[in-house]
Amino acid sequence: MSAQERRPEEDGRDFADAMWSIPSYLLAGMAIYGGAGWLLDRWLDMSAFFPIGTVLGLVLAGYLAYRKFSR
């Protein structure tokens, strides 16, 4: 009986954890890999790595959120 009662609370807590951390994972991914791309741009004097890094970070962070919360 106590296992049944615990389940909804655990589910609610896991869902709230997921909801608040997904946008922050996405933002963090964009910030890190976009920042790395921007530094690479400054080093190589190009201007293409910043958008590539940002989108790559977004995709990686999306993959992280998927693996962590949908398994």
Binding site: R13, D17, S24, L27, A28, A31, L64, R67
Partner: protein, 264 residues
């Protein structure tokens, strides 16, 4: 209200700017730091302390009067904020969570009380101090309960992912938990209160201008719409203020709970 309408020169309607709404002068002429937000923050702290003292200083088994009312709020914080995230450790942190919730609630509600009308959280310093102190508490508790290396290892390398991906994904986890979390904790409260205050000021300005400053037949309709929108929006703003206070306390409880038990 009077200082808002004085600088408007003759012809056109001008919306209130953030400067004149949020940059308030000191109340006592010589003391530079004692402005209206500081006074309101001090008064809300005294109000929360007085309320909880009056309710809980001599607690009885069957609550009466003030204890009955404040216990309602205490039960709300315990069942909705503390217990879902802290489980059996909820009682240790009830003092912190009840204080956070009631303090932020009084701060926010000061934005709609007549003659006061300034939500204290719309200066970034106030939510930032609370968020930083919860952040330091989170790190301290995490290191105390999971060990210095263990805390960061559990945070950055959650189980269940293929090994090579860890290198790519651990900076994301670290940045998200360590830097973005406290930042959004403070900015969420600040941005909601700032935007709400600006909107309320804008709608009241519309109503006042079109009905009292320059009363024209065509403008009167716009003025009436402004007054109605102010009333409707004040109601909505009260709901948002309550919700933001609840969210602030709930996120604080979630961060503390995340450092007490390792993420699984």
């Amino acid at each position: 209200m009077i200082t808002l309408t004085a600088p408007a020169p003759g012809g056109e309607f001008q919306a209130p700017t953030p400067n004149e709404l949020f940059d308030l002068p000191p109340i006592i002429a010589g003391v530079e730091w004692f402005t209206k937000p500081v006074l309101l923050a001090a008064l809300s702290a005294i109000l929360v302390i007085g309320l909880t003292w009056a309710a809980f200083s001599k607690p009885k088994l069957v609550p009466r009067g003030m204890q009955n009312v404040v216990e309602y709020g205490y039960m709300f914080v315990r069942d909705q904020v503390a217990r879902p995230f802290l489980g059996k450790d909820a009682d240790r942190f009830m003092g912190l969570l009840v204080t956070l919730f009631f303090l932020v609630l009084v701060w926010n509600l000061a934005g709609v009380v007549p003659f006061v009308q300034f939500p204290v959280a719309s200066h970034i310093a106030f939510p930032a101090v609370l968020a930083i102190s919860i952040y330091l508490l989170k790190i301290y508790l995490g290191i105390k309960h999971q060990g210095a290396g263990g805390y960061f290892k559990n945070m950055m390398f959650p189980p269940g992912l293929p090994k090579p991906i860890y290198v790519l994904l651990s900076p994301i986890e670290f940045l998200s938990n360590m830097i973005i979390a406290p930042f959004t904790h403070a900015v969420r409260l600040f941005a909601n209160m700032f935007a709400g205050h600006m909107l309320l000021a804008f709608f009241s300005m519309v109503g006042f201008w079109f009905l009292f400053e320059k009363l024209t037949p065509l403008g009167a309709g716009v003025g009436v719409v402004g007054v109605i929108m102010t009333i409707v929006f004040t109601g909505f703003e009260i709901f948002i203020q309550f919700l933001q206070a609840f969210l602030f306390a709930m996120l604080a409880s979630m961060y503390i709970g995340g450092s007490l038990h390792a993420e699984h």
